[in-house]
């Protein structure tokens, strides 16, 4: 079997470098398999985060040849074997060690989103077409690749003002829940900072679950923010018709 050269980032918050490893390629191999091989034969302390190895848990996020990707889902036969393959940690989060980053930021943002609040006295009947939209967002495996690729976090480091695409789709899944009565529009605007998103769609491009993050979640939320804050005529109509 052929060999492929991997350049894997080794280091921590103090610094580090790309280290070359030769990996023997077998049929159907993915980048995560290559990392295991390195771990088992060359570098037992190589830090990688992984769980299911089936693109269902979203743990093994990294940047492969500069692209935010899941290592378990990137087959080597989709990469050019004549060139070295670079594997680096996600950049939007502080590094812990090697390919592992500190993603605790995400858990802090999640805590700020008000939870599901059901309509009082509901009989819990919901039709499939009522849950379809939110179900798409609930496919999210929290790999945080959308957060990693989002330039607002990645390049502008607006972690304090902007929650990132993952938490906008989480908010959307709650806002579009047919029986939810909580109002999250003000916090979506102010705390999650939806205005920082300039809908350049990189989150949608990297999503391994193929969730239409921008078109189906962020833009509809932006429109709901417009309803509330930027649509004087709409507001007038609502006042006169008594509709919410």
């Amino acid at each position: 079997m052929p060999e492929v050269n991997f350049k894997v980032f080794r280091g921590n918050s103090e610094g580090g470098e790309e280290v070359d490893y030769k990996v023997e390629v077998t049929e159907g191999m993915v980048v995560l398999d290559a990392m295991f091989q390195i771990q088992q034969t060359k570098a037992p302390d190589l830090a990688i985060r992984w769980n299911c190895k089936a693109a269902k848990c979203g743990s093994c996020s990294a940047e492969i040849n500069g692209k935010p990707s899941l290592m378990c889902k990137t087959r080597l036969d989709t990469l050019d074997p004549s060139k070295p393959v670079t594997v680096r940690p996600m950049r939007a989060f502080p590094i812990i060690k090697d390919l592992v980053t500190d993603v605790s930021f995400n858990y802090r943002v999640n805590k700020t989103i008000p939870p599901f609040k059901p309509k009082p006295g509901t009989d819990w009947k919901m039709l499939q077409e009522d849950v379809d939209r939110a179900q798409e967002f609930r496919k999210c495996i929290e790999c945080f690749l959308c957060q990693d690729t989002c330039h607002v976090l990645r390049d502008h480091a607006k972690h304090e003002q902007f929650g990132g695409p993952r938490w906008l789709i989480r908010a959307a899944s709650l806002e579009m829940h047919p029986l939810d009565v909580e109002d999250r529009i003000p916090m979506i605007r102010e705390k999650l900072g939806i205005g920082f998103c300039n809908i350049t769609k990189c989150c949608t491009e990297v999503c391994p679950e193929e969730i239409h993050i921008t078109d189906n979640a962020i833009i509809p939320l932006k429109e709901r923010v417009v309803d509330r804050y930027y649509d004087p005529i709409g507001k007038l109509i609502r006042i006169f018709t008594g509709n919410k």
Partner: protein
């Protein structure tokens, strides 16, 4: 060596494991106002529960009105070949529906019927449509719902933290010791009650659907702390794991594929199940289907990569993608197979352990006061074989009961347990020792050898001779495990972590092998080539192992609790109704397959 720093945290209830059972237990305990800590070996929300695909079994009767807890109870006992704890099976069948509705009230969005109710699907061993589901990502929906519920209740979550030892005050539980994976810093928890919800043991085997986390930590921690392990010989080999490419060998192919009409064939194009279970065909119980595939391959009728074909390509492609989206992507991306056009290749994979910590069925408490267990690491609920869909409901029902049990225990506690410094010091030494040893033995090598031995000697078919070899190998591997070295530092060092997990896997492996050796019959998932029949004598006992005073593992056959009359009556009534119901199911499936 110099004294090693550690930090100390205190909680009334400490839950170890953050899958479905751990989260459900933590929610219940937290709702009572106690201080609750939740320890995750990975990040929150990554536990193996996310891998559960097909659904959660609950006799709601939204699709088949005749369904009832009694039928669910019967199906569960029938699937487990009566080895189940009848009380657990009863509680489970009675409470599962309420637990699923509760999830909905916490925001979960299950698939719907045209009238707006829970949509339920057929599954192996369930006579009615009983599995509430969300496409084929039910586990993800469950864990996300529980996670968000828990986070907003104010549960303290310790992520990427591994527990290596339970601390005791005399007989009673007093806390736990562990380390944080990212930086290797040590941590001591003081706790009045501990709930183990650490999941499965699949990593002891070479071909498994389980993630790296499933190293039997809960089983081993409980065993070391003096609890008993029940019925460990019953390991479920899921019939359909991927067999190719090598990197994903063992990866689960959900039973929902068969639930949606998937046909199993050999390389001659024959429907294999018509030989092994012509009545229930592909939706026979998992043990039967797994053995069927294994036998076909062994007798030379397998596929090029050593499996059987599982085919849904005769169905409408849009239906396949809608009903089985993640299977479609899994095969497309990992194996280059389009399941709407081609058949999948599948073979058995180590999936689930029915055995586990022996607990009181009502409180989930082990024989160690203050130590509780729920979910896969607890034993008894599933008997000899678990039905698909019963594990997600198990997590909810017994996670909650364990939470209640722990709260009651803490509230009734008269004396605050105290920590024993010697135990903490000992735990520190155990963890730092691999760095101080010299030699060439790595945990990776020992682990790989253990997996091969368990796969060959304590696998899907067992014999006295193989088991003897397996047990001997475990002895040798135990010696090697004492010599493994760790290199590098303590910060996120998987090689170091494995040195400790190895010990857990060895304990679990030994308990499986000894229990399998003791049970001289074939029953449910436990198949012996030298004792191929059911034995009524063995039906009366459970296998129980515990740690002997000399540190050696002790195995016993313990008589089962007799079932009360009201339940035997239910079983008899249900049995009479079964033939007609199986016929109905067959018709239903035939109709669905045409869609």
């Amino acid at each position: 060596m110099a004294t090693v720093d550690y930090e100390t945290h205190e909680h009334d209830v400490l839950v170890i494991g953050s899958g479905g059972a751990g989260l459900r237990a933590a929610i219940e305990a937290s709702a009572s106002g106690l201080s609750v800590g939740l320890v995750c070996k990975s990040l929150l929300g990554k536990a193996h529960t996310v891998m559960a695909e097909g659904g959660v079994a609950a006799a709601m009767g939204t699709c088949d009105q005749d369904d009832s807890w009694q039928t669910h109870f019967y199906d569960t006992m029938n699937g487990g070949k009566m080895m189940n704890s009848w009380r657990m099976a009863q509680l489970h069948a009675q409470q599962a529906a309420d637990r699923v509705r509760e999830l909905q009230e916490w925001g979960a969005l299950f698939d719907r019927t045209p009238s707006g109710d829970f949509l339920q699907r057929d599954f192996g061993g369930h006579q009615f449509r009983r599995l509430c589901h969300v496409g084929d990502r039910t586990g993800l929906e469950m864990i996300r719902t529980l996670q968000d519920k828990g986070v907003h209740l104010g549960i303290e979550v310790y992520m990427e933290c591994a527990i290596t030892r339970l601390l005791k005050d005399g007989d009673q539980i007093a806390g736990a010791f562990g380390y944080f994976r990212p930086d290797g810093r040590f941590i001591v928890f003081r706790a009045k009650a501990i709930i183990l919800a650490c999941g499965g043991i699949g990593r002891s085997y070479k071909v498994t659907s389980n993630s790296w986390e499933c190293t039997g930590d809960g089983h081993a921690l409980a065993y070391e702390a003096g609890a008993e392990l029940l019925d460990m010989e019953f390991v479920q080999f899921h019939p359909t794991g991927m067999v190719w490419p090598p990197g994903v060998e063992g990866l689960l192919v959900t039973e929902a594929v068969r639930g949606e009409g998937g046909k199993l064939t050999n390389n001659k194009g024959e429907r294999i199940m018509s030989k092994y279970d012509p009545d229930r065909m592909e939706l026979s119980t998992r043990d039967v289907v797994a053995r069927a595939i294994y036998t076909e391959v062994k007798e030379g009728r397998g596929t090029p990569h050593g499996g059987c074909y599982l085919d849904v390509s005769y169905k409408n492609p849009a239906t396949v993608i809608r009903k089985l989206p993640s299977m479609y992507h899994q095969f497309k991306e990992l194996a280059n197979v389009d399941i709407t056009k081609q058949a999948m290749e599948v073979g058995p994979t180590t999936h689930y352990v029915m055995g586990g910590v022996r607990v009181n069925p009502d409180t989930q408490q082990s024989r160690v006061p203050g130590l509780f267990a729920a979910g896969e690491c607890a034993g008894g609920m599933h008997g000899g074989n678990r039905l698909g869909g019963n594990s997600l409901s198990d997590l909810l029902v017994f996670g909650r009961l364990a939470g209640i049990g722990a709260v009651d225990f803490v509230k009734g506690l008269k004396k605050q347990p105290s920590l024993d410094q010697a135990q903490v010091d000992d735990a520190v030494v155990e963890m730092t020792a691999p760095f101080e040893r010299e030699g060439a033995e790595t945990a990776y090598d020992v682990h790989a050898d253990l997996q091969v031995s368990m796969q060959h000697n304590v696998g899907i078919f067992r014999t006295e001779a193989d088991l003897a070899v397996g047990i001997e190998n475990i002895g040798k591997l135990n010696e090697r495990a004492k010599k493994v070295v760790a290199k590098g530092g303590r910060a996120f060092n998987p090689g170091w972590h494995l040195t400790r997990e190895l010990k857990n896997m060895l304990i679990v492996s030994e308990s499986i092998a000894l229990s399998a050796q003791q049970r001289k019959e074939s029953r449910a998932s436990h198949s012996r080539l030298d004792y191929t029949e059911f034995d009524p004598e063995w039906a009366k006992v459970n296998s129980v192992v515990h740690k002997g005073p000399d540190g050696k593992m002790v195995i016993e056959a313990v008589a089962k609790d007799p079932m009360p009359e009201e339940l035997t009556k239910i079983l008899a009534e249900q049995k009479e109704l079964q033939p007609q119901r199986e016929l109905n199911k067959k018709e239903r499936l035939a109709k669905a397959a045409k869609e």
